[in-house]
């Protein structure tokens, strides 16, 4: 059963190319996601530091009314 489905004629490079294109698209997407996650972690770390600073030294803007986020 396997023998007659494995590559043998000259169509093979095209099939492989097509599947590779698909794989490439997927990996590019993952890479972009990776960059995004890294950026988010950086932002989070920054905010983390800010909160920690706020706890160590009495923040001057403590009485600031909470801003409405859009």
């Amino acid at each position: 059963m396997f023998a007659d489905t494995l590559p043998g004629d000259q169509g093979t490079p095209y099939v492989v190319a097509a599947y590779l294109v698909f794989l490439a698209l997927l990996l590019i997407y993952l890479a972009i996601m990776g960059v995004r996650v890294a950026r988010m972690e950086r932002d989070l770390a920054e905010l983390d530091d800010l909160v920690r600073e706020g706890r160590d030294t009495p923040p001057s803007s403590e009485q600031e009314p909470e801003r409405i986020s859009t």
Partner: protein, 237 residues
């Protein structure tokens, strides 16, 4: 809470997709006239079907947005269309590769699926520039929804119209209804894999965008600074 279940979903997607490709490579019988080349069919056609359904789903989500006016629906519609657009690039490229392998040319006007898809792709290609050209967020979302609904209705009509054209010499190569059993099974498994892939990517995108939105708002509250809002085509929650 939007990331819940993402891991299970990803695992399921990998299992089904890899399994599908394995089935396509080893289990599906060789086509009589086309030989091994025909196996592109298991990649190209499910990709196309999922992309088109994605476009239509984008339109349905846009209807919800216009009904409820909640930004989350606009985000969902945007993400669905965006992912379909990316998959669409894959469809056109794999379609060209298949055309080259079968007929020696990179493009076939005789293949109605490919041609219809090109037209649909060109239409949705204007979605992002259109969003980008509208600055007011609320209006951007509203207009994008109108677009998504119109374009979603357009997809079946376009396919119908192109298909109605008299076919020339080349026989209907894709989508011939009389596939033998094992081929059908393989096709269905690949279709399931692609659909799962779409859904997983969709959930990832939504989770990422929502997380980013919350980060931004946290930042604004803590820092009291509003980062300069760059004009963007993507909805922010």
């Amino acid at each position: 809470m939007h990331g819940k279940g993402l891991r299970g979903l990803s695992v399921a997607t990998i299992v089904v997709l890899v399994g599908a490709f394995a089935v396509a490579a080893f289990y599906a019988p060789l086509d009589a006239d086309q030989g091994f080349r025909q196996k592109i069919f298991y990649l190209h056609v499910p990709l196309a079907i999922v992309a088109l359904v994605g476009f239509i789903v984008g339109g349905l989500l846009a209807i919800q947005h216009l009904r409820t006016r909640e930004p989350i629906w606009d985000l969902r519609s945007y993400v669905a269309i965006h992912i379909s657009l990316i998959l669409g690039v894959g469809v056109l490229v794999t379609g060209a590769i298949w055309a080259k392998s079968s007929w020696g040319v990179w493009w076939l006007w005789d293949e109605p699926t490919l041609v219809s898809f090109l037209i649909v792709f060109l239409l949705y290609g204007t979605y992002t520039p259109m969003r980008f050209a509208i600055e007011d967020r609320e209006r951007q979302a509203r207009y994008a929804s109108v677009f998504a609904i119109t374009a979603g209705a357009f997809v079946p009509i376009c396919f119908g119209a192109v298909r109605a054209q008299p076919q020339e010499v080349h026989p209907q190569t894709f989508g011939s209804g009389d596939l033998p059993g094992p081929m059908w099974l393989t096709f269905l498994v690949c279709l399931a894999g692609m659909a799962l892939l779409f859904y997983t990517l969709y959930r990832f995108e939504i989770a990422a965008k929502l997380a980013r939105g919350r980060l931004r708002s946290l930042r604004r509250q803590l820092l009291d600074d509003a980062p300069v809002q760059r004009r963007s085509a993507a909805p922010t929650i």
